[in-house]
Symmetry: C2
Subunit: 761 residues, 2 copies
Amino acid sequence: MQSFKDLIIKNNNEEWFKKIRVGLEKESQRVTLNGVLATTGHPKILGSRSYHPNIQTDFSETQVELITPVFENETDVVSYLGALHEVVLRSMNEDEMLWPLSMPPVLPEKDEDIIIAKLDKFEDVLYRRYLAKSYGKRKQMVSGIHYNFEFNEKFIEKLFEGQQNYLNLVEFKTDLYLKVTRNYLRYRWLVTYLFGATPVSEWGYFDENEMKPNEPVRSIRNSKFGYTNHDDVFVSYESLERYEQDIADLIEKGKLSEEKEFYSPVRLRGGKSMADLKQAGIQYIEIRNIDNNPFASYGITEDQTEFLHIFLMYMLWINNETENPDELLKLGTQINNAVALEDPLEKTSYLTEGMALVSGMKGMLKEINASANWHYLIDKAEDLLNDPQKTISGKMVSYTQNDEFTNNELGIHLGKQYYDKAWEKTYQLEGFRDMELSTQIMIADSLQRGVEVEVIDRSDQFLKLSFNGHVEYVKNANMTSKDNYVVPLMMANKVVTKKVLSETGFRVPQGYEFQSMERARLIYPEISKMGFVVKPKSTNYGLGISIFKEGASQEDYEEALRIAFNEDTDVLVEEFLPGTEYRFFVINGKTRGIMLRVPANVVGDGVSTIEELVKKKNDNPLRGTHHRAPLELIQLGEIEQLMLKEQGLTIHDVLSKGQIAYLRENSNVSTGGDSIDMTDEIPEYYKIIAEQAVEKLGAVICGIDLIIPDKTVNPFESEKAYGIIEANFNPAMHMHCYPYQGKGRRLTKNVLDLLFPESKR
Amino acid sequence: MQSFKDLIIKNNNEEWFKKIRVGLEKESQRVTLNGVLATTGHPKILGSRSYHPNIQTDFSETQVELITPVFENETDVVSYLGALHEVVLRSMNEDEMLWPLSMPPVLPEKDEDIIIAKLDKFEDVLYRRYLAKSYGKRKQMVSGIHYNFEFNEKFIEKLFEGQQNYLNLVEFKTDLYLKVTRNYLRYRWLVTYLFGATPVSEWGYFDENEMKPNEPVRSIRNSKFGYTNHDDVFVSYESLERYEQDIADLIEKGKLSEEKEFYSPVRLRGGKSMADLKQAGIQYIEIRNIDNNPFASYGITEDQTEFLHIFLMYMLWINNETENPDELLKLGTQINNAVALEDPLEKTSYLTEGMALVSGMKGMLKEINASANWHYLIDKAEDLLNDPQKTISGKMVSYTQNDEFTNNELGIHLGKQYYDKAWEKTYQLEGFRDMELSTQIMIADSLQRGVEVEVIDRSDQFLKLSFNGHVEYVKNANMTSKDNYVVPLMMANKVVTKKVLSETGFRVPQGYEFQSMERARLIYPEISKMGFVVKPKSTNYGLGISIFKEGASQEDYEEALRIAFNEDTDVLVEEFLPGTEYRFFVINGKTRGIMLRVPANVVGDGVSTIEELVKKKNDNPLRGTHHRAPLELIQLGEIEQLMLKEQGLTIHDVLSKGQIAYLRENSNVSTGGDSIDMTDEIPEYYKIIAEQAVEKLGAVICGIDLIIPDKTVNPFESEKAYGIIEANFNPAMHMHCYPYQGKGRRLTKNVLDLLFPESKR
């Protein structure tokens, strides 16, 4: 057989070679903000571990395990891990955080205070009891990262083309992964060197009498003192048959309880369960020797995953065939153990081999035309080989040696940092901050309840949500399969909406639609003495609208018509309804939020200038820019200053206590307006009106705007108690979730309840 | 009480005064193209007369009655009548037409050959038998127009404000309509003069011995020889009580069988049934003395309805109170009978009164600030008073006196003209020709099966359809409540569509999405030797697309990227799928049409130049412009001439027999392409593929485009038999209904079956 390198180069398979599928699993311990192991149970709000696809517990009740879906690139997988991290942090007690180190925090004195995970299936609990007995509970408290790696299927097919020595693709693929695995096991020490992050242990991890390393080292976890099988467990990687036979024998002899107890740094995977391996051959491999990186918010950086990606490609690229492959493995383990126990601040004894690996990878990257970033990552690895202080363990030890922190304090310090970040802007979600806020909130709520999220189109805010095989597509967090197609089209057309509502007895502003000035001019006598509005039919942003609250002169009316006809060929002249406008958000027949929007304003304190008041108000973390916060910063531009001037004010004036100054005429939140939740303040009968109107329109998710002059008036008793201005088929949800004032209404959860009633808790 | 005129002027009620609600009913006889009474039954395709809201039969099986819904303006009501007319003509046998005259055509010798309408309800048949006996079958064969008229409700409320003499609004309104009715009955002779259109009768209408007029006259139908009660039937219009009492007495005495046998020129209406009158008072009035205007395609023109509108306004405007109102009525009837029997070519004896009416109406129009068109209509009436030859009856008689036609021939001639018009462009529908073709076709199909149509927004192609209380909204004829909201949003996004389809195992072009040139450039080695397409992600009109059927040079690839990035920030690079593209139109899980689109072309005959061939091809009535025909005219502009040049041709070249010249590269129907129905030619298995793909997308109405290299290959046996290019959520339907070649597929009927399964026949 040709070398894989030749197979890759021969048929221009370089691009396919670069493509992979990757998934991450990451464990960490729940601790208090003082770094003490949490005594609380797994957060109930995360739902049952028996079905949550992304958030589980591993050995102990405190050991949270995050599992990402499989992605085709590193950015997505790390983003998703970040999102899961934030969701878990926000779902835990507010005085708990995730311990950022692989090595456990200071452990309780008594073994019984380490609680085995309270799983639903009794067999899962039994298995953990067995582990506790066999390895000791304390050793099971170590956390780490598993990196699941798969080459692109088509890439493997392309390599297989023309192969003579294999019965089928499955056999070929298995051989390919076995080679990668053996090479990885041989050279994994480089990963231990670069990413090792368990230099010391805290009290309670080692028994007093136990043999233990001379700390600090590069990686206790990856050394013989770490999370490994007993010495008498050896499994061959020569062939899949041998691998399986060896494991079977070990189980037979009672040296392993079952396959999954085999703690190899690489596990061969044939599918979700181990049994798949026989049928399907090796489908992907699980790399298990990655320590949590405490300097990464989520335990691993995108750069690390990219490096592993390149490293595994290189493990396929190199030719390293030998008579007895298992000898390679033993050598690899030997070197790895040695490197793991080296002084983190010293160069490794295997520097020469390390430099050879680096130079080999550089050569590969050149031949396959890799991106500048990949070259940079290998350069960085070279740098770390020459400068061990920059490795992760090197940095950790430097901190403690400089007396900045003890190892325990470093854990608390970094953990707190990530905790603060997660709680700072809870309306945003790591990994999805480029998406619309409502979508970010919906993703967070989905992940929390175990609904899997796939972003189908990022810029289009298009999600695929699934729960136990039930799939729903959602756009903008409010467009779903529950609404029928013609309803939003109806709501997009103001005239149609009004027609349907008024036909069914709801009060809407009466009015006319005109295609010409001439026709529109004729109705002047009729409206001259009433309040009315002139507006273009189809524009939606307030452009070309004139409001005459108490009639208008013929000239003013005609000027308003001219302005409106400049915007659209169709112009509406409508009765003006006086009163306060409220947005009713109706989901599945129930009013879930009512919002009052108030123009940008500040309230005086008798001391501060308007400029200072604006600055203070803008300090609210809910305020941001570009719709990536629930409220926008108040500006002090021309429009605002003009508005102040009209009130006889400048930005340098001091307002008396309680005095309000408005900075805008319009109440849009997008120009600094306040959102005030009124859900509990508006009487029930108006909710019924809103719900009935939405029902008549046939909408399931709808924002409907009512003008109410006096909310104490019962609309079922007074004809003019309200008027419906508009129904919105793409209503913003985030402002309800995080209002400026009043209670937040988590509408995204209502939508999820509607889409996945089976996930409701 | 003040005069109504004062009430109108006082509070600026002029505009409300102008607003009305109006509905039309129109009868006509079905005849052969030779003017012989049809012997066939009411067309089965129109469904049962027991529920059809718009198309009924009156006395005889041949007497079609068209009933419009109520509208707020004349344009809409006449449009709807026109549409009903065309639908009925196209639903009848192809050798039948509608008789355009109120007076019946030559009637059969034997009474029994006049067939009483075969209605479902036996009581309806019994009533017609009674009429036949009481008045004779032949007199019942006269047709006419009923004009239902109602003032705006709010107008009446405004007049009622501050009234002291009335118990309630109902009483006031009843009085108002009684006044209008009495005045109308007094002055109705003017309508007989202007619109009378029954100057002569055909053989078989009058008995040989019967008293009959000295023909020609203005209106037999409105004279004592016409469609009236027996002489001893007189009913008072002094009050509603007297009116009802008189009718009750006549029934008691056996002079009327029931209320509806009272053939007054004005019937008072309280609702749909006569019994409503007691409860609701007069709600509207039904004007019944309008002869069918044979010069109007549908029996009445918009101008006529506008005139009646003004005339009825004037009947409210004038003060004409007297001690004994019934004397007015008797006088009115006397004058009307006299005018009806006047010579149509002579001035009326009541010219003075006529001129006074005209001048009164002019005064009213001035005071209420009426439009120029209304002034014009009254000027025209004045003109007709002075020039009787221009009245309808005058024109009819002139034709016969000039020996151009006999009255019978005139009927045949005009009827044939309207018949031809209805059959000329069957893909269009009178009254709706400004709307999109698919919507026009759907309206026609709806009217045919008795689904009521309300155009909610004309320019937006928004319809409200209802059938027995079941309402459905439809936009563009293909957007309905049956599709869910998120599906079309999915289809609008090419990347999402492909993702969903490929995840579920359908073959779609493989590809990449790029946001930058740099990234896109990198994949060149991979695609250099395959067919591929570079296109902007979101534009849809072929802009910025480059196709490389067999790979491309690096330079060409980068140029294509530049072109695409000029159009969009996201660019797709996709595998090129060779083969023929077919549009599969799937409705509710079934493929209802398959279309092949061929670029604009002509086929040689060995004699004609390309220019002549194009002209000939464009003569096809299916070709038109601006999407108001199923096919577009082939142009001979720059693009077409360039395309010919590339084939070594000019427009002056003669093509040999069978030689094809293409005039366009693209196959769009909008640039003159041909649509070829392939529904029966494409094997079943591809229909299954299309149906399954549409099901996976979750769509109910969907146009899905498949590339098929060889349709004889079974796609379930060969992996690359097809590729899905796109799914369209707003697929054109009209080209399937009226293809250039092959069988038309009436997709609009499939959509109606889906929306209203209960209306399916």
